[in-house]
């Protein structure tokens, strides 16, 4: 999506892409050292909201001396940020492209996030977040990731990739150790994740998602009222059941109710929520075409 000849083309646009506040990659989070104590923050780190992240990006924009933004775009949690940005800074924003996202975390989202957190809490090494000097709660993080990963796929894509194929033996052995391809795949995904991610950060990011709700007393239309001059391109994926098309349609409806220029596409895919990360020509063309009509 980013590159010469791609939708977010650095030869055409000045592109900013910042890590989120609270992340264990390139930002400050629970795994960072608290300069006042010299120890890692752990759970003393405050819970971050999407609006906190958006405010931190605004500080970056100010620092870079930028006065206007041609387009704000993101998928999933990035989509939350794009929407929150538009609501927070409508005067300086020309367009928004929210992808595979929602204007609030659904009950489903919260439920799945909570079981992922419970997986980490129940790891004997987690120790209320104070694990940095000892054994890491990797089993818990691995399990959390496995759960999360299933929510990013779709039944069709899983069936297509793994079916009921067996991993090690030609026939059922009837054991509790994994036998099916999909079991082994999930284990692998979970294990590799623990090598690059921090367990506490996982807790914080899922909380950031859970608390997100742009609506005012359940109403999205009034929230979008100040966004009148902004152009929107809302994209959803047909097989995404984590942030389904219905969530995007709610956004579209609330935007249209305010007379806001809005386009909407539901791209037919098989990959579930992960679709927004998969190479997709339709997505590329749609975004490129939308952006080509914007002049700052």
């Amino acid at each position: 999506m980013v590159g010469i000849g791609k939708p977010f083309d650095p030869s055409k646009y000045y592109i900013i892409c910042a890590n989120i506040l609270g992340s264990c990659y390139g930002s400050t989070g629970p795994s960072s050292i608290n300069p006042e104590t010299g120890e890692r923050y752990g759970l003393t780190f405050p819970i971050i909201t999407v609006n906190d992240i958006v405010k931190s990006i605004k500080l970056l924009i100010n620092y870079l001396g930028l006065k206007k933004i041609l387009s704000v775009s993101g998928g999933s949690l990035g989509g939350f940020q794009a929407l929150d940005w538009a609501v927070s800074y409508p005067q300086i924003t020309q367009s928004v492209i929210p992808i595979a996202t929602a204007s609030y975390a659904t009950t489903f989202n919260v439920a799945f996030n909570e079981v992922q957190r419970q997986a980490i809490y129940s790891d004997s090494n987690w120790n209320n977040g104070n694990y940095y000097k000892g054994e890491l709660p990797n089993l818990g993080l691995k399990l959390a990731r496995e759960i999360g990963h299933i929510t990013y796929l779709s039944e069709d894509s899983m069936k297509e990739r793994f079916g009921r194929e067996l991993r090690y033996n030609p026939e059922y052995v009837f054991q509790f150790k994994e036998e099916f391809e999909v079991e082994s795949y999930l284990q692998h995904k979970g294990t590799t994740f623990t090598k690059r991610f921090d367990a506490n950060t996982y807790l914080y990011i899922t909380k950031t998602i859970d608390y997100f709700d742009l609506r005012k007393e359940g109403d999205l239309t009034s929230t979008f009222y100040p966004l009148k001059k902004i152009k929107f391109l809302v994209v959803s994926f047909s097989s995404d059941w984590l942030y389904p098309t219905s969530q995007s349609k709610e956004i579209v409806y609330a935007l249209k109710s305010n007379g806001i220029e809005t386009s909407f596409v539901e791209i037919k895919t098989n990959y579930g929520h992960d679709s927004f990360l998969v190479e997709c020509d339709d997505l590329r063309v749609i975004i490129t075409n939308f952006l080509s009509n914007l002049i700052l």
């Binding site: 386009s263 909407f264 339709d282």
Partner: protein
């Protein structure tokens, strides 16, 4: 600029600065002309992703939607014009859609190919089959058109449902203008302007 004759007529009908909804807007060329030359506030509805790419390329706002769902998300009387050009033939429940259009729009503009056009009658009489339209990119034998529309049928429909037709134009427009008198026989494409229910 617009190739299709019915679109050129529809272009002339739309007043400047109005709010327009184009159902089944295709590649968005009509909306683009209207935006550029008549400063309208336009929105397209289209189901084909390839056509949507074209709309976005023209700077048109377009929403991917199946027209058979009606206009559920639209409030009453929101548009000055709702256009349905050569699309009614593909709609499963035309009565439902037209009633929705009359609810949401102040004026409704519908164009369709007249099945009862005299050339079609001759072709069918002689060949036992209708000629396939050359502009159609559908499959060779089975088209997706499901409604058989004629001018007479449309007049009957409007009369039955007590829909006010403020104006109708029958193409081709020739010097003698006989098709305005015998539209069911002589017109190839019919354009009807209906008054919304409010």
């Amino acid at each position: 600029m617009l190739e299709r004759k019915d679109l050129r007529v529809i272009f002339e009908i739309i007043k400047p600065n109005s709010k327009v909804l184009d159902l089944g807007c295709g590649d968005g060329l009509l909306l683009r002309e209207l935006v550029l030359k008549k400063k309208i506030d336009g929105l397209g509805i289209e189901i084909s992703i390839e056509k949507i790419k074209s709309c976005l390329n023209s700077g048109i706002s377009v929403i991917q939607e199946d027209l058979n769902e009606g206009l559920k998300d639209f409030k009453d009387n929101t548009f000055d014009y709702i256009i349905l050009s050569q699309t009614l033939e593909y709609v499963a429940d035309p009565v439902y859609l037209i009633q929705e259009m009359l609810r949401v729009g102040k004026k409704v503009v519908i164009s369709f190919e007249n099945l009862a056009y005299w050339k079609n009658r001759v072709t069918f009489l002689l060949n036992g089959a209708l000629k396939r339209a050359s502009t159609n990119d559908d499959s060779l034998f089975f088209r997706k058109k499901i409604q058989l529309l004629s001018v007479k049928k449309f007049f009957d429909f409007c009369s039955y449902y007590k829909i006010k037709t403020s104006h109708q134009i029958f193409l081709p427009i020739k010097k003698l203008n006989l098709n305005q008198t015998f539209p069911n026989l002589l017109s190839k494409i019919a354009i009807f302007i209906l008054e919304g229910e409010n």
